[in-house]
Symmetry: C2
Subunit: 277 residues, 2 copies
């Protein structure tokens, strides 16, 4: 893993070198390392980045589904982004991240579909107002939610539903709320939003106060924010809220929302997550 220290760690992690139309090479970076692979949010952002850097792109991200098909290992990878269908104002993408295995055979580790769209001003309204909470400064920033690299790339100020202090098996609801932003602070863009969409610790840890092994299988992000809303959100905090709806036979879902400090909805997102035991 190599890192450039003169650029923001997220921009460093998202560096993709084009090698052919729609084909890019990148590599994992140490600052976003999780336990046995890169943080899922930075992998999501990387696949989206393949579309964002594609010369044939039409419009901005509307929807992203990332499927974590296999382990991403330390080192180089290839991102391939292909426009499967281009309409007048929407475009449908198929994206893969692959790596050579021990025998040198290319294996797909992550797949994604992305929809980009040209958005127009219309009647707009929310039906999920931001919860009433105090300002970010009123909640202390925590230092290292758990001992992996990527959590240090986010300034987290828990509001409700923190990581259990005692792993005592006492059941709670799975709701978590926090203020969060990239650290160092960084102007928000679509890739960063995709990254933050995966920022929550596993709902089952909260629900059961038991630290079972987990792994996200698939994550979908709906971008309600356009470029203008991202621009005026800038480097500010996001209110992030997540909860599970169902835990059943090895898989639970998570539904989450991200608002900016002004209370504007930026993202709604969901995951299906594997758990053991």
């Amino acid at each position: 893993m190599t890192s450039h220290t003169h650029i923001h760690p997220l921009d460093d992690a998202l560096l993709l070198q084009p090698t052919a139309p729609g084909v890019f090479t990148g590599r994992t970076t140490e600052p976003y390392w999780n336990m046995v692979g890169p943080y899922g949010g930075v992998t999501a952002a990387t696949l989206l980045q393949g579309v964002l850097q594609h010369r044939g792109r039409l419009g901005d991200p509307l929807s992203l589904t990332v499927n974590y098909a296999g382990a991403v290992t330390e080192g180089a990878f290839t991102v391939r982004a292909q426009a499967v269908r281009t309409n007048r104002s929407t475009q449908h993408w198929w994206v893969t991240l692959s790596q050579a295995d021990a025998e040198g055979v290319e294996q797909v580790a992550t797949t994604a579909t992305v929809i980009t769209a040209v958005r127009r001003g219309t009647w707009s309204s929310t039906e999920t107002p931001m919860p009433t909470v105090q300002k970010p400064a009123d909640y202390p920033a925590i230092d290292g939610l758990f001992p992996v690299q990527w959590v240090r790339r986010y300034e987290m100020r828990p509001i409700a539903g923190p990581l259990p202090a005692q792993w005592d098996g006492a059941e709670h609801d799975s709701l978590t709320r926090l203020w969060v932003r990239d650290t160092p602070a960084r102007a928000l863009d679509f890739a960063a939003l995709a990254g933050i969409s995966d920022v929550f610790f596993p709902r089952i840890w909260r629900r059961r106060a038991t630290r079972v092994p987990i792994g996200t299988v698939s994550m979908t992000v709906y971008f309600h924010a356009g470029a203008e809303l991202l621009a005026h959100t800038g480097g500010g905090y996001l209110l992030a809220q997540a909860r599970a709806q169902e835990f059943r036979n090895g898989f639970f879902d998570q539904t989450a929302q991200l608002w900016n400090e002004a209370g504007e909805m930026l993202v709604t997102t969901q995951q299906i997550v594997y758990y053991k035991e």
Copy 2:
């Protein structure tokens, strides 16, 4: 459009003829026709069916994301299902539905990713109990929600948040609840569940009591039900609940849940939907 009258209309719509490994031909059917193309739910079920019929399939559906890339026109189509990655207990699929255009050139109309998984019994729990409502028989079945074919393939018993009786622009919340099942009644399976996941009329019609043009762009379905739960659900009613979280500049989301009569969660699902004006 040809139909076989001796089998259930859903089974008829899902008839896929294998022509090569992972390649199937099918055709649209009149009973599931919407305004200008097939009902999105039956298209979702058709793409899932391509995986279900694949000889190399491992496990049962866990997650399905369908991207409605372009219009599906009346007549024949080709479904291609490819296992991109097979693990010990999960498998990741890329699926397309394509049709020849006016010049005879194959165009992708719909794409999907599917994850299948071998599920094992574990600690399980819900965090979204079924709302307290009366029995299905206590709510009259409505006859034709709106004048298109596919709505007659579902027995719908609205509970709350019906289609507005007056298109008067009076704003409501977007929540809708109904009892629903296939008609004729049919034992529930994964394809039928995918179909019912799209059964809701557009949330913006409820929210605004204004009938603006809409089109689903992407739908994701998480299957919490395994084969055993489907088997004991059988041909019973499902409690279906949907609401929007955000309407912004031409796109709104929908988040929904399906329970069986016993109150067991079968599916959580979400959509991002285009709207005009």
